[in-house]
Amino acid sequence: MTTVASIAPAWATGVCAGLRAAGCRHVVYVPDNPLSHVLRVFEQEHRDVRLVLATREEEAFGIAAGLYLAGARPAVMLQSSGLGNSLNAITSLLLPYQIPTLMVISMRGDASEWNAAQVPMGRALPAILDAMGIPHLRVESAPQAEELVRQAAVTAFGTRTIGACLLARRMTSVRA
Protein backbone atom coordinates (compact mmCIF):
# COMPACT_ATOMS: atom_id res chain seq x y z
CA MET A 1 0.00 0.00 0.00
CA THR A 2 1.27 3.45 -0.86
CA THR A 3 1.05 5.75 2.14
CA VAL A 4 0.93 9.52 2.04
CA ALA A 5 4.23 9.66 3.84
CA SER A 6 5.87 7.65 1.08
CA ILE A 7 4.73 10.07 -1.63
CA ALA A 8 5.19 13.28 0.37
CA PRO A 9 8.61 14.94 0.15
CA ALA A 10 10.93 13.61 2.81
CA TRP A 11 11.52 17.09 4.23
CA ALA A 12 7.77 17.45 4.86
CA THR A 13 7.48 14.18 6.74
CA GLY A 14 10.55 15.25 8.71
CA VAL A 15 9.00 18.56 9.71
CA CYS A 16 5.85 16.77 10.89
CA ALA A 17 7.87 14.21 12.84
CA GLY A 18 9.96 16.92 14.50
CA LEU A 19 6.92 18.90 15.60
CA ARG A 20 5.21 15.81 16.97
CA ALA A 21 8.37 14.68 18.77
CA ALA A 22 8.52 18.07 20.51
CA GLY A 23 4.93 17.74 21.71
CA CYS A 24 3.25 20.10 19.27
CA ARG A 25 -0.37 19.02 18.73
CA HIS A 26 -1.65 22.36 17.41
CA VAL A 27 -0.47 24.01 14.22
CA VAL A 28 -1.86 27.41 13.21
CA TYR A 29 -1.12 28.31 9.63
CA VAL A 30 -1.58 30.55 6.64
CA PRO A 31 -1.26 28.47 3.46
CA ASP A 32 1.80 28.29 1.27
CA ASN A 33 2.56 25.96 -1.61
CA PRO A 34 5.41 23.95 -0.04
CA LEU A 35 3.64 23.90 3.32
CA SER A 36 0.73 22.14 1.65
CA HIS A 37 2.87 18.99 1.77
CA VAL A 38 3.28 19.34 5.52
CA LEU A 39 -0.44 19.96 5.95
CA ARG A 40 -1.27 16.87 3.92
CA VAL A 41 1.00 14.66 6.01
CA PHE A 42 -0.66 15.96 9.17
CA GLU A 43 -4.16 15.54 7.77
CA GLN A 44 -3.62 12.01 6.54
CA GLU A 45 -1.00 10.52 8.85
CA HIS A 46 -1.29 12.40 12.15
CA ARG A 47 -4.91 13.11 12.96
CA ASP A 48 -3.98 13.93 16.56
CA VAL A 49 -2.54 17.25 15.39
CA ARG A 50 -5.16 19.99 15.21
CA LEU A 51 -4.71 22.33 12.24
CA VAL A 52 -6.15 25.84 12.52
CA LEU A 53 -6.35 28.00 9.40
CA ALA A 54 -5.93 31.75 10.00
CA THR A 55 -6.76 34.55 7.56
CA ARG A 56 -3.55 36.46 8.26
CA GLU A 57 -0.28 35.74 10.00
CA GLU A 58 -0.73 38.17 12.89
CA GLU A 59 -4.01 36.47 13.70
CA ALA A 60 -2.20 33.13 13.68
CA PHE A 61 0.21 34.34 16.36
CA GLY A 62 -2.72 35.53 18.50
CA ILE A 63 -4.39 32.12 18.21
CA ALA A 64 -1.09 30.44 19.06
CA ALA A 65 -0.75 32.63 22.16
CA GLY A 66 -4.21 31.56 23.32
CA LEU A 67 -3.33 27.93 22.72
CA TYR A 68 -0.22 28.32 24.86
CA LEU A 69 -2.28 29.84 27.68
CA ALA A 70 -4.49 26.76 27.32
CA GLY A 71 -1.50 24.53 28.03
CA ALA A 72 -0.60 23.58 24.45
CA ARG A 73 2.69 23.81 22.55
CA PRO A 74 1.64 25.65 19.41
CA ALA A 75 3.47 25.97 16.11
CA VAL A 76 2.80 28.64 13.50
CA MET A 77 3.48 27.83 9.84
CA LEU A 78 3.80 30.68 7.38
CA GLN A 79 5.54 31.86 4.24
CA SER A 80 8.43 34.27 4.73
CA SER A 81 6.34 37.09 3.24
CA GLY A 82 3.94 36.69 6.16
CA LEU A 83 6.49 37.70 8.76
CA GLY A 84 5.75 41.30 7.83
CA ASN A 85 2.12 40.76 8.81
CA SER A 86 3.13 39.33 12.18
CA LEU A 87 5.51 41.80 13.76
CA ASN A 88 3.09 43.63 16.06
CA ALA A 89 1.72 40.48 17.69
CA ILE A 90 5.23 39.03 18.01
CA THR A 91 6.78 42.12 19.57
CA SER A 92 3.90 43.31 21.76
CA LEU A 93 2.34 40.01 22.83
CA LEU A 94 4.50 36.90 22.51
CA LEU A 95 7.87 38.45 23.39
CA PRO A 96 6.90 40.62 26.41
CA TYR A 97 4.63 37.93 27.89
CA GLN A 98 7.29 35.27 27.19
CA ILE A 99 4.80 33.14 25.27
CA PRO A 100 6.71 30.55 23.26
CA THR A 101 5.84 29.22 19.86
CA LEU A 102 7.73 27.53 17.06
CA MET A 103 7.63 29.26 13.70
CA VAL A 104 8.04 27.08 10.62
CA ILE A 105 8.77 29.45 7.77
CA SER A 106 8.64 28.45 4.13
CA MET A 107 11.27 30.65 2.54
CA ARG A 108 10.80 32.72 -0.57
CA GLY A 109 13.37 35.07 -1.99
CA ASP A 110 16.36 32.80 -1.48
CA ALA A 111 18.09 30.53 -3.99
CA SER A 112 15.86 29.54 -6.94
CA GLU A 113 13.41 32.42 -6.42
CA TRP A 114 11.93 33.78 -9.65
CA ASN A 115 9.46 36.38 -8.26
CA ALA A 116 10.99 39.79 -7.56
CA ALA A 117 8.16 40.67 -5.16
CA GLN A 118 9.30 37.87 -2.85
CA VAL A 119 12.94 38.89 -2.71
CA PRO A 120 13.16 41.91 -0.34
CA MET A 121 11.36 40.27 2.59
CA GLY A 122 13.01 36.92 1.97
CA ARG A 123 16.47 38.50 2.12
CA ALA A 124 15.63 40.69 5.11
CA LEU A 125 13.95 37.98 7.17
CA PRO A 126 17.01 36.64 9.04
CA ALA A 127 18.06 40.18 9.99
CA ILE A 128 14.52 41.01 11.13
CA LEU A 129 14.49 37.91 13.33
CA ASP A 130 17.92 38.87 14.67
CA ALA A 131 16.68 42.39 15.46
CA MET A 132 13.88 40.88 17.55
CA GLY A 133 16.23 38.45 19.26
CA ILE A 134 14.47 35.42 17.81
CA PRO A 135 16.81 32.46 17.23
CA HIS A 136 16.54 30.84 13.83
CA LEU A 137 18.07 28.00 11.94
CA ARG A 138 17.90 26.91 8.31
CA VAL A 139 16.73 23.51 7.22
CA GLU A 140 18.58 22.85 3.98
CA SER A 141 18.04 19.16 3.37
CA ALA A 142 15.49 16.51 4.18
CA PRO A 143 17.65 14.31 6.46
CA GLN A 144 18.13 17.30 8.83
CA ALA A 145 14.50 18.29 9.02
CA GLU A 146 13.12 16.18 11.85
CA GLU A 147 15.99 16.73 14.25
CA LEU A 148 16.42 20.46 13.59
CA VAL A 149 12.71 21.14 14.02
CA ARG A 150 12.61 19.07 17.19
CA GLN A 151 15.66 20.83 18.65
CA ALA A 152 14.28 24.29 17.81
CA ALA A 153 10.99 23.42 19.48
CA VAL A 154 12.70 22.05 22.60
CA THR A 155 14.61 25.32 22.98
CA ALA A 156 11.57 27.50 22.27
CA PHE A 157 9.28 25.82 24.80
CA GLY A 158 11.99 25.10 27.33
CA THR A 159 13.23 28.70 27.44
CA ARG A 160 9.90 30.40 26.61
CA THR A 161 11.11 32.09 23.50
CA ILE A 162 9.94 32.08 19.94
CA GLY A 163 12.03 29.83 17.71
CA ALA A 164 12.13 29.83 13.92
CA CYS A 165 12.92 27.10 11.42
CA LEU A 166 13.54 28.46 7.93
CA LEU A 167 12.78 25.92 5.23
CA ALA A 168 15.20 26.64 2.36
CA ARG A 169 13.49 27.09 -0.98
CA ARG A 170 16.07 24.96 -2.76
CA MET A 171 14.85 22.11 -0.55
CA THR A 172 11.11 22.78 -0.70
CA SER A 173 10.97 23.61 -4.41
CA VAL A 174 12.42 20.26 -5.46
CA ARG A 175 10.29 17.15 -5.29
CA ALA A 176 11.87 14.34 -3.33
Binding site: R56, L67, A70, I99
Partner: protein
Protein backbone atom coordinates in the same frame (compact mmCIF):
# COMPACT_ATOMS: atom_id res chain seq x y z
CA UNK B 1 -24.65 52.24 29.72
CA UNK B 2 -21.00 53.19 29.72
CA UNK B 3 -18.18 50.72 29.18
CA UNK B 4 -17.32 50.38 32.88
CA UNK B 5 -20.97 49.64 33.72
CA UNK B 6 -21.07 47.06 30.92
CA UNK B 7 -17.80 45.53 32.11
CA UNK B 8 -19.22 45.22 35.63
CA UNK B 9 -22.21 43.33 34.24
CA UNK B 10 -19.81 40.96 32.48
CA UNK B 11 -17.57 40.46 35.50
CA UNK B 12 -20.55 39.77 37.76
CA UNK B 13 -21.94 37.17 35.33
CA UNK B 14 -19.02 34.88 34.51
CA UNK B 15 -17.98 33.28 37.81
CA UNK B 16 -14.46 31.90 37.49
CA UNK B 17 -14.42 31.92 33.69
CA UNK B 18 -11.45 33.54 31.93
CA UNK B 19 -11.77 36.97 30.32
CA UNK B 20 -9.26 38.20 27.70
CA UNK B 21 -9.25 42.00 27.47
CA UNK B 22 -8.10 44.13 24.58
CA UNK B 23 -5.45 46.72 25.30
CA UNK B 24 -6.18 50.17 26.65
CA UNK B 25 -9.56 51.12 28.00
CA UNK B 26 -11.24 47.68 27.79
CA UNK B 27 -8.41 46.24 29.91
CA UNK B 28 -8.44 49.24 32.27
CA UNK B 29 -12.18 48.89 32.87
CA UNK B 30 -11.88 45.15 33.42
CA UNK B 31 -9.32 45.91 36.13
CA UNK B 32 -11.57 48.60 37.63
CA UNK B 33 -14.52 46.20 37.63
CA UNK B 34 -12.50 43.88 39.87
CA UNK B 35 -9.01 42.48 39.42
CA UNK B 36 -8.92 38.67 39.34
CA UNK B 37 -6.35 36.09 38.21
CA UNK B 38 -8.63 34.88 35.42
CA UNK B 39 -8.31 38.27 33.68
CA UNK B 40 -5.77 38.26 30.85
CA UNK B 41 -4.93 41.92 30.24
CA UNK B 42 -3.18 42.68 26.97
CA UNK B 43 -0.83 45.65 26.85
CA UNK B 44 -0.26 45.63 23.10
CA UNK B 45 -1.10 43.58 20.01
CA UNK B 46 -4.09 45.71 19.09
CA UNK B 47 -6.66 43.61 17.29
CA UNK B 48 -5.71 40.12 18.41
CA UNK B 49 -7.68 39.78 21.67
CA UNK B 50 -10.36 37.78 19.85
CA UNK B 51 -7.65 35.56 18.37
CA UNK B 52 -6.17 34.88 21.81
CA UNK B 53 -9.66 33.97 23.00
CA UNK B 54 -10.12 31.66 20.04
CA UNK B 55 -6.90 29.78 20.75
CA UNK B 56 -7.81 29.50 24.42
CA UNK B 57 -11.29 28.23 23.55
CA UNK B 58 -9.87 25.61 21.17
CA UNK B 59 -7.30 24.43 23.70
CA UNK B 60 -9.67 24.38 26.69
CA UNK B 61 -13.10 23.27 25.49
CA UNK B 62 -14.07 22.69 29.14
CA UNK B 63 -13.95 26.45 29.84
CA UNK B 64 -16.30 29.16 28.63
CA UNK B 65 -13.96 31.84 27.32
CA UNK B 66 -14.96 35.52 27.24
CA UNK B 67 -13.23 38.26 25.28
CA UNK B 68 -13.71 41.97 26.03
CA UNK B 69 -12.75 43.61 22.75
CA UNK B 70 -13.15 47.13 21.39
CA UNK B 71 -14.68 48.25 18.11
CA UNK B 72 -11.45 49.87 16.96
CA UNK B 73 -9.47 46.77 17.85
CA UNK B 74 -11.82 44.33 16.15
CA UNK B 75 -11.83 46.50 13.03
CA UNK B 76 -8.07 45.89 12.87
CA UNK B 77 -8.55 42.10 12.69
CA UNK B 78 -11.91 41.49 11.02
CA UNK B 79 -10.58 38.25 9.56
CA UNK B 80 -10.80 36.89 13.10
CA UNK B 81 -14.59 36.86 12.77
CA UNK B 82 -14.30 34.58 9.73
CA UNK B 83 -11.91 32.25 11.57
CA UNK B 84 -14.17 32.12 14.63
CA UNK B 85 -17.16 31.56 12.35
CA UNK B 86 -15.53 28.69 10.50
CA UNK B 87 -13.87 26.98 13.48
CA UNK B 88 -17.06 27.57 15.51
CA UNK B 89 -15.90 26.91 19.08
CA UNK B 90 -19.07 26.40 21.13
CA UNK B 91 -17.39 27.86 24.24
CA UNK B 92 -16.27 31.27 22.94
CA UNK B 93 -18.12 34.49 23.75
CA UNK B 94 -16.77 37.60 22.02
CA UNK B 95 -18.02 40.85 23.53
CA UNK B 96 -17.29 44.11 21.78
CA UNK B 97 -17.50 47.34 23.75
CA UNK B 98 -18.59 49.48 20.82
CA UNK B 99 -18.23 53.15 21.74
CA UNK B 100 -17.72 54.19 18.10
CA UNK B 101 -14.42 55.87 18.93
CA UNK B 102 -10.72 55.22 19.50
CA UNK B 103 -11.12 56.40 23.07
CA UNK B 104 -7.69 55.29 24.29
CA UNK B 105 -5.99 57.47 21.69
CA UNK B 106 -8.09 60.61 22.04
CA UNK B 107 -11.58 59.90 20.78
CA UNK B 108 -11.19 59.72 17.01
CA UNK B 109 -14.36 58.19 15.47
CA UNK B 110 -14.25 54.58 14.27
CA UNK B 111 -16.15 53.18 11.31
CA UNK B 112 -18.99 52.16 13.66
CA UNK B 113 -19.70 55.86 14.13
CA UNK B 114 -20.78 55.64 10.50
CA UNK B 115 -22.27 52.75 8.59
CA UNK B 116 -20.26 49.81 9.97
CA UNK B 117 -22.24 47.19 11.92
CA UNK B 118 -19.97 44.68 13.65
CA UNK B 119 -22.75 42.29 14.71
CA UNK B 120 -23.93 42.11 11.10
CA UNK B 121 -20.34 41.49 10.02
CA UNK B 122 -19.99 38.67 12.55
CA UNK B 123 -23.22 37.06 11.35
CA UNK B 124 -22.16 37.39 7.72
CA UNK B 125 -18.83 35.71 8.53
CA UNK B 126 -20.45 32.69 10.14
CA UNK B 127 -21.08 33.58 13.79
CA UNK B 128 -24.79 32.82 13.82
CA UNK B 129 -25.38 34.00 17.40
CA UNK B 130 -24.53 37.67 16.94
CA UNK B 131 -26.54 40.36 18.70
CA UNK B 132 -26.35 44.08 19.43
CA UNK B 133 -27.36 45.25 22.91
CA UNK B 134 -27.91 48.81 24.11
CA UNK B 135 -28.54 48.68 27.87
CA UNK B 136 -27.61 46.65 30.92
CA UNK B 137 -30.75 44.51 30.88
CA UNK B 138 -30.17 43.50 27.26
CA UNK B 139 -26.49 42.81 27.97
CA UNK B 140 -27.28 40.68 31.02
CA UNK B 141 -29.82 38.69 29.02
CA UNK B 142 -27.40 38.16 26.12
CA UNK B 143 -24.60 36.97 28.41
CA UNK B 144 -27.06 34.61 30.09
CA UNK B 145 -27.99 33.12 26.72
CA UNK B 146 -24.33 32.88 25.73
CA UNK B 147 -23.65 30.85 28.87
CA UNK B 148 -26.63 28.55 28.38
CA UNK B 149 -26.57 28.01 24.61
CA UNK B 150 -23.71 26.80 22.40
CA UNK B 151 -21.65 29.45 20.68
CA UNK B 152 -19.66 30.96 19.30
CA UNK B 153 -21.36 34.15 20.40
CA UNK B 154 -20.70 37.74 19.40
CA UNK B 155 -22.30 40.37 21.61
CA UNK B 156 -21.85 43.89 20.30
CA UNK B 157 -22.60 46.25 23.19
CA UNK B 158 -23.20 49.88 22.34
CA UNK B 159 -21.52 51.78 25.17
CA UNK B 160 -20.51 55.29 26.12
CA UNK B 161 -16.92 56.06 27.04
CA UNK B 162 -16.10 55.80 30.76
CA UNK B 163 -12.71 57.53 31.20
CA UNK B 164 -10.91 54.92 33.33
CA UNK B 165 -8.49 56.13 36.00
CA UNK B 166 -6.75 52.90 37.02
CA UNK B 167 -4.48 50.54 35.11
CA UNK B 168 -3.96 46.79 35.44
CA UNK B 169 -0.64 45.26 36.53
CA UNK B 170 2.21 46.29 34.22
CA UNK B 171 4.20 43.06 34.44
CA UNK B 172 3.22 40.97 31.43
CA UNK B 173 4.82 37.75 32.69
CA UNK B 174 3.02 38.15 36.03
CA UNK B 175 -0.30 38.55 34.20
CA UNK B 176 0.39 35.43 32.16
CA UNK B 177 1.56 33.19 34.99
CA UNK B 178 -1.20 34.28 37.36
CA UNK B 179 -3.74 33.61 34.59
CA UNK B 180 -2.33 30.20 33.67
CA UNK B 181 -2.22 29.15 37.32
CA UNK B 182 -5.82 30.25 37.80
CA UNK B 183 -7.16 28.23 34.88
CA UNK B 184 -5.13 25.15 35.75
CA UNK B 185 -2.25 25.31 33.25
CA UNK B 186 0.69 26.37 35.45
CA UNK B 187 4.03 26.95 33.78
CA UNK B 188 6.68 24.66 35.22
CA UNK B 189 8.71 27.46 36.82
CA UNK B 190 5.72 28.47 38.92
CA UNK B 191 5.15 24.96 40.22
CA UNK B 192 8.51 23.20 40.11
CA UNK B 193 8.93 20.02 38.12
CA UNK B 194 10.65 16.68 37.91
CA UNK B 195 14.45 16.75 38.28
Amino acid sequence: MNRLEATRVLAASVGDAPIVASLGHPAYDLFAAGDRPQNFYTWGSMGVASSIGLGLAIGRPDLRVFVADGDGSLLMNLGSLATIGSTAPANLVLLVWDNAEYATTGGQPTATAGAADLAAAAAALGIASSVTVRDEAELRQAIGRAQAEPGPWMINAKVAESAPRAKPPLDCVFIKQRFMNAIGNPESATTGGAA
